[in-house]
């Protein structure tokens, strides 16, 4: 058809025609149903809650089977995700059920990072699906869809309000997955306390802007039941796989000394409501919401991050592949430029450092020369002094010797020559004087070392 013809058709008013007889396309839903039944369904549940709060027991109770589960320990270092896939069958409908457990949630002393593994797991599932969608050769009908359809958040029955960890985690999860909060181990809260507790929780969620899953009220068939159920959120559940005889029936229940809590008794807990809403009425809607809302949001954010937009200025829709190639080329070009830059920087730095080192070396050398020179100077001076000192010492020694010889000679010449004696006396005086100075010098010599 020519492009113009299509335009004409889209502008026309749609007309309602009445049929003359039974055509038969009312069997379309049935065809769809039988196709999906043969294909099988897939459902993924994420259970988030503290260790020992009853997640595994509730899953066993909900699906009426015993999924194998070991008790988790409280001493995990961090939160780890444990997905398990099971194949269930009821009538002729196959269900591929994946239950993801959060092991170690709420046990650590520092829980600031507790939400991260959960968010990462959900994002990984989205990412895998996105990759599969973007493939050239894809097989979506065969693909095992691991995206989380529902997150059951288990609230501890303290009776006061949410815990701080609950609030923080739910805020991180509400834009990525459908959250249904449930009150676990609800057989420890009496009816009046339960009512107040539920109101407090809902008001806290609302005041903090946490978006929990609302059962859809736009489909006439289920609008009534869904809206009434919406008012009962969060569901207070009790799980049990043990059977107790009550009256003449055997039901799943918990036996206490003061009574028996029946799991499927609506006046005891909201288990039946949860099962209705989760499995019997809204399972398909949950899958749809996950795909249409949460996954699309993820996809849009991811692609925008990568730089795609819906249309270019000429209003021609982009081909994803072309854009991808262009982006890739750009990216590689950028990478190369950056590499060049870094290399350049590195070379520059090396040159600089080398120059600096050379400078320093030169300086050191100069200093060394200077010091050597000074040292030599000092040495010379000291040598001179020593020489002087030695001279003086020698002079003194000579005088000392002279004085000694004179004193030896003196008594022989005493009687003979008075003049000589006078001269001698003068000389003696002078000698004595000299002697004094010598003694001074002597003492001076003695003094220095002390």
């Amino acid at each position: 058809m020519a492009a113009t013809d299509v335009d004409i058709f889209s502008n026309e008013e749609k007309r309602n025609l009445s049929l003359g007889g039974h055509v038969g396309f009312d069997s379309l839903p049935d065809q769809l149903v039988s196709k999906s039944v043969t294909q099988g369904f897939c459902f993924n549940i994420l259970c988030v809650g503290e260790t020992g709060i009853g997640k595994s027991t509730l899953m066993n109770t909900l699906f009426n089977t015993m999924f194998e589960n070991e008790e988790a320990s409280h001493y995990q270092n961090g939160v780890c995700m444990r997905p398990r896939t099971y194949d269930l069958q009821e009538s002729n409908v196959h269900l591929k059920l994946t239950i993801v457990d959060t092991v170690g949630f709420g046990d650590q002393i520092n829980k600031e990072e507790s939400y991260k593994p959960i968010v990462d797991y959900i994002d990984t599932q989205f990412e895998n699906y996105l990759q599969e969608e973007l493939k050239i050769k894809r097989s979506l009908f065969n693909y095992h869809d691991g995206r989380v359809h529902i997150c059951l958040y288990f609230i501890a029955p303290t009776g006061h309000s949410l815990k701080s960890l609950d609030l923080v985690t739910m805020k991180k999860l509400d834009s990525k997955v459908n959250i249904i909060p449930i009150i676990a181990k609800a057989d420890t809260i009496s009816k009046s306390e339960l009512h107040k507790f539920k109101i407090k929780i809902m008001s806290e969620l609302v005041s903090n802007g946490v978006q929990i899953y609302q059962f859809p009220t736009d489909d006439d068939a289920v609008t009534e039941i869904n809206s009434s159920m919406n008012a009962h959120l969060p569901f207070a559940v009790v799980g049990s796989v043990e059977e107790v005889k009550v009256g003449n029936k055997t039901v799943r229940a918990r036996q206490y000394p003061w009574g028996v809590v029946q799991v499927e008794n609506e006046s005891h807990c909201d288990f039946v409501k949860l099962r209705e809403m989760l499995i019997r009425v809204n399972m398909e809607d949950l899958r749809e919401q996950t795909h249409a809302r949460h996954y699309e949001l993820y996809r849009r954010c991811k692609l925008e991050e990568m730089g795609f937009t819906d249309t270019d200025p000429d209003c021609q829709p982009f081909s994803l592949q072309e854009t991808y190639e262009a982006k890739r080329k750009e990216f590689m070009g950028d990478l190369q430029k950056k590499e060049e830059q870094m290399r350049q920087m590195f070379v520059n730095k090396v040159k600089e450092t080398e120059a600096e080192l050379k400078e320093k070396e030169r300086e050191l050398h100069n200093k060394f020369e200077q010091l050597k020179h000074m040292h030599q100077e000092e040495k010379r001076k000291v040598e001179e002094k020593r020489w002087d000192l030695e001279e003086e010492m020698n002079a003194f020694n000579r005088r000392k010797v002279a004085a000694e010889t004179l004193s030896l000679v003196q008594p022989l010449k005493k009687d003979k020559d008075k003049k000589k004696v006078n001269v001698w006396a003068q000389a003696k005086h002078g000698f004595v004087f000299h002697h004094h100075s010598d003694i001074n010098v002597f003492f001076y010599f003695l003094y220095i070392p002390s």
Binding site: T51, I109, A156, L167, E204, Y256, P257, W258, S267
Partner: protein, 362 residues
């Protein structure tokens, strides 16, 4: 050898000191008793309800509970409530130390520190008072017992429980309790108790041990004592409301499937806890606090101070270590002065020696 006083022949003459217990009784009634109880555990464990049930009063009127967003970064506070209660002429000054905020924040690193600091503070206060001159009116604010509430929702002790008890077991008598026991069937209670007991032993936590009863106590008492020891940790339920059941009005919790009676021994261990805490072991708890925990603290304190003194070589103590107070301030001062003089002279001597040494070298 037991001497029967004044046994002359076959007659025993009555001396009269057998009335001593009565005298003690009379005096103690006149003096009155005091007891400090600390409760610790995450919020929503039923601590306030249990305290109200134990002492049959309403201690927690008009409490304001925080919202969860306010609790994200909450710090632990210490709040004291003191009440004077009287029963048959016996007065009891009861102090409940509450620890709101424990374990409630997202990051609970060292959230027990305010609690250990508080306990140490009380010990220090008592230490100072005891070492002071005027000891007539010492107020004993030391914590005699700490009830720790373990949540029943898990499989045993969690890391924060272990860390808390380990930080406190040498400072106070720790009595672990399993809170909100009405969410556990009898089998589950037994499993959890065994688990907790095993973990307590594994981690080396020294909880309060009931004293061995003497061999001459009667059988019933011994039996009770044995039962009590096997029941540890006690699984308790508390209630602020009175319900009607089997023609009686009792404290209990009303459920669609039955009524839990707080004082029914087959429902929970509340009666055992009350008996232990109030009726039989209250004084023992006080004794262990005085004789063991406080003495440990005191010995540690004195040791720290003396080791610091030998290091510094100077008298510099922030607390008066021994009863050396006011009259000895003078001698203290003199000693200080003499010490300083000595130091100065030593310095001068050193300097002169140095000078001579330098002079010799020249």
């Amino acid at each position: 050898m037991l001497l029967a006083p004044g046994a002359v022949g076959n007659e025993k003459q009555y001396v009269g000191f057998a009335t001593l217990p009565n005298q003690v009784h009379r005096k103690s009634v006149k003096k009155g008793f005091d007891f400090t109880l600390m409760v610790a555990g995450e919020s929503g464990m039923g601590k306030s309800t249990l305290v109200n049930s134990l002492f049959l009063t309403d201690l927690y009127k008009d409490r304001k509970l925080l919202n969860s967003e306010e609790r994200i970064n909450q710090t632990v506070e210490i709040i004291k409530h003191t009440v004077d209660i009287e029963e048959k002429g016996v007065k009891l000054k009861l102090t409940i130390v509450d620890t709101p905020g424990f374990g409630d924040a997202v990051n609970n690193n060292e959230c027990w520190k305010p609690i250990t600091d508080y306990i140490d503070q009380q010990f220090e206060q008592y230490f100072r008072d005891e070492s002071g001159l005027n000891r007539k009116n010492i107020q004993d604010n030391r914590v005699h017992c700490c009830l720790y509430f373990i949540p029943p929702f898990g499989h045993g002790l969690r890391p924060v429980d272990v860390e808390f008890m380990k930080a406190l077991h040498e400072k106070v008598n720790v009595v672990p309790l399993i809170a909100k026991a009405d969410c556990l069937t009898p089998n589950e209670i037994k499993k959890l108790k065994d688990r907790v007991r095993e973990e307590i032993e594994r981690f080396g936590i020294k909880v309060y041990q009931f004293p061995e009863c003497d061999s001459d106590e009667d059988e019933e008492f011994k039996q009770l004592d044995k039962e009590l020891k096997e029941c540890c940790p006690l699984a308790v339920i508390g209630s602020n409301t009175v319900v009607e059941t089997r023609g009686q009005r009792v404290r209990g919790r009303l459920y669609p499937w039955g009524i839990v009676e707080v004082e029914n021994q087959s429902h929970c261990d509340f009666v055992k806890l009350r008996n232990m805490l109030i009726r039989s072991h209250m004084h023992d708890l006080k004794d262990v606090t005085c004789d063991v925990h406080y003495e440990n603290y005191r010995a540690q304190c004195i040791q720290d101070m003396t080791s610091k003194l030998t290091q510094d070589n100077r008298m510099e103590s922030p607390i008066p270590i021994l009863p050396l107070s006011t009259p000895d301030v003078e001698t203290d001062r003199l000693i200080k002065m003499k010490d300083e003089e000595l130091a100065r002279m030593q310095e001068m001597l050193n300097k002169m020696q140095q000078q001579i040494h330098d002079g010799k070298d020249q």
